[in-house]
């Protein structure tokens, strides 16, 4: 799973798997799992150089209130070559979030109270952008610090922004091997 290249050098990987602490507003705790798959097509175009299809799944808890699960697909671009320090930008236009408030009592049209089903919550369209700083750790992968801004729509009759801080690790999996000299 972890690639160690010839002479200890790590070439660019075709895939990265990320695990991070997700802090909504920093302190609302959560977790973020992601996978980046390198775009192999259009290699000659600089736009697609070091570009990845990004898929992620997040969960966080609004303390004492509700849980939110989110998933997103987008496009991620790393800095031209992955050195000791690097950075990335991710655009995730396809995102969806589901809130969960299990003890929700519903007043129905007749004015009567209905028991909770345990799955009450709401779906939101949730596009986002993310910027991150990466630091190579030996040859195993990268420490990652990311800042994400997203929006929940429709929230009441408007849009609500969400801010996440992510601190975690990016594993390279698997990597291309260089040919022996």
């Amino acid at each position: 799973m972890l690639f160690i290249g010839v002479n200890g050098q790590t070439p660019d990987s075709l895939r990265y798997i990320g695990v991070s602490y997700l802090g909504n507003n920093i302190w609302n705790p959560g977790i973020s799992l992601s996978m980046d798959n390198k775009i192999q097509a259009f290699k000659n175009l600089s736009f697609f150089n070091n570009s990845f299809i990004h898929i992620e799944a997040n969960a966080h808890w609004d303390i004492g209130n509700r849980t939110l699960l989110a998933t997103a697909i987008g496009w991620k671009k790393y800095r031209s070559s992955l050195k000791k320090w690097s950075r990335s930008f991710t655009l995730k236009p396809l995102g969806i979030t589901r809130s969960f408030s299990p003890k929700t009592y519903t007043i129905n049209e007749n004015g009567n109270v209905e028991e909770p089903t345990g799955f009450e919550g709401r779906f939101y369209y949730n596009p986002s952008i993310e910027i991150s700083i990466l630091r190579k750790y030996k040859d195993a992968g990268y420490f990652r610090l990311a800042f994400e801004m997203s929006a929940l729509y429709p929230y009441n009759y408007y849009t609500i922004p969400l801010i996440h801080l992510k601190v975690g690790y990016l594993f390279s999996y698997p990597c291309k091997k260089k040919n022996d000299e």
């Binding site: 609302n28 509700r66 408030s101 929700t104 009441n156 801010i163």
Partner: protein, 340 residues
Amino acid sequence: MNKWFWLSILIITTWSCTNNRFRIDETIHVRHQGADIPVYVHGNSENKTFLVVTHGAGSFGLVYRDAAFTEVLEENYVIVYFDQRGQSMFEGQYDKPENQFELMTKDLVALTEVLQYRYGDDISLFLMGHSWGGLLSGNSLLDQTHQSKYKGWINIAGALNLEEISQERKELIIEICGSFKTQSEFNEQWEEVESKTLLLDAEDSETYDLVLEQASEVIKLLGKEEVVTSGITGEKLYRAMIENNPIHWLISDEVTRPIEAALKEGIDLTMEVENIKIPSLFIYGKYDVSVPPRMGQKAFENLGSEDKQIEIFENSIHHPFDSESDKFGDLLVEFIEARR
């Protein structure tokens, strides 16, 4: 020796469980007309007495959850805090309502239904409203069916007459300035506020914010005079930043602002409160330039209840539960105990 150690553990554990048997600490939601109202329920249910707290404009339910509320009221009763429609952690998907005030009133009625459903029809309910919440809770009690569910109404600095609030503020500002300017080391500042306020035509809606500006100056000067002492507690900060989502709070308040529509409409319950017959307690701060006590006094005189009481807190502005916390807690316990 071993058996005595484990026996002690058993006794302590049993005693702890017994002590907390009536304690409720939970969050529920009430789904009503396209939205989910977050309801935070905390306190001692032994007396089966519930106090529903209706927050002020631009605020949120949990901001009240410190000092008198946690140290006194939650020890004796169950306190129900909630976020009103379009405020803070309130969540939903609905079109912008034509009459947000009426819809918020109906939300309060729906919340009451759920409380009785969940905790029993035999619970004793008291309704409290602070500032804008006083207006909202008072308006909800005009529904006689809803009113009959409550054993008492506690109105704290309730803004019951939005039509004349600016004029009332102006008069109180001038009165306070007049009483301080002759004897204070800050007399120049008092005079400045007084002279600026005198120039404002409070009946002109354009000057609403200008009157509020001078009210803010009075509050600052009262702080300098050390007439009113209160600050933001660590607990309140925790509620605002951690348990509440400050971004939700700020954005929602910026967008929804139900009080603006209510001000435009000039909602006035001064005469309509004659239809409120349940025992009522009015509390106002002497120096409350946000909701002057005279406004509360006028409504109090028309209140339909025979069992009614008004208290003016001498060292308070708009948050008597913060500035005179002990007195506030004792007064509420006395009021509730006599009527539950």
